[in-house]
Amino acid sequence: MTLEGFLIISAILFCIGLTGVVIKSNIIAILMSVELMLNSVNIAAVAASRYVPPITLDPSQVLMGNMFAVFVITIAAAEVALGLAIVMSVYKDKQSIFIKDASHLKG
């Protein structure tokens, strides 16, 4: 249970998410892979704030990595709400949730 172990878990989770974004053709599955990538970044930030010594001896500086994770979770919630709203909108328009059918903006 070292910083290295947490960073390796975070790196593998990020790469699984990256692979999922490329190899999936369902928009909801792509959104789920994006969530995996955001979670991996949270693990890395919290592990760094736990194991790396703070610059100043102020307790609120120690928890800055946790604050990173809190803001990432906030943005992820907004992102998933908007993404799923776009999915529903595309589904109402084309009766499909696959990216090959979502080509409205293609010239």
């Binding site: 999922g20 969530e35 693990i43 609120s60 994770a69 906030t74 529903m88």
Partner: protein, 174 residues
């Protein structure tokens, strides 16, 4: 000599990564959403192992409680649950890209000597332990002092996201 915390850490990592792998490998999108919830629970356990109790609670409420449910609702509103998770045309490319990135990151993480930056002297160790024991107090204090501008900005982002989501899905009435 394996400590008990190490065994829990390896088990948690194994569960998290294998359910994350099942999210992108299973054909049934509903099962993929359930495996996604399992991955979020594994991340909750990792946060607890890192002594970040506040983040573990936030992760449990927002990710496991809200985001998984919203994703399952979206899956239920759209058809083709059984065949809903096929691969795209970039299957080989995607796997190669993922393996390449994974190898690159793991090599660069293992090559670097982390002991040079993670050794804490006793004074720093005391501060870190103190801050994590009183983490709720200090997180609340940071949110209204140091990071008050990002806090307000993220609340505006959430407001804009809610308004945008409603205006995207509402029925057009001319």
């Amino acid at each position: 000599m394996m400590q008990i915390a190490d065994i829990i850490f390896y088990l948690t990592g194994l569960i998290t990564l294998s359910s994350a792998l099942m999210v992108i490998l299973t054909k049934d999108i509903f099962r993929a959403a359930l495996f996604l919830a399992a991955t979020f629970l594994g991340v909750v356990a990792l946060f607890i192992l890192l002594f970040a109790e506040f983040l573990a609670a936030v992760q449990l409420i927002i990710y496991v409680g809200a985001i998984s449910v919203v994703i399952i609702f979206a899956i239920m509103f759209t058809k083709n649950v059984k065949i809903g998770n096929p691969f795209s045309n970039f299957r080989i490319t995607g796997f190669l890209l993922g393996l390449f990135m994974c190898g690159l990151l793991i090599i660069s993480i293992t090559v670097f000597d982390w002991d040079t930056i993670t050794t804490l002297d006793t004074k720093e160790m005391e501060i870190v332990v103190y801050a994590y024991q009183n983490s709720i107090y200090y997180i609340g204090k940071i949110l209204v002092t140091n990071l008050v501008v990002p806090f307000i900005a993220s609340s505006f982002i959430l407001l804009a996201a809610v308004i945008g989501a409603i205006s995207l899905v509402k029925e057009r009435t001319e």
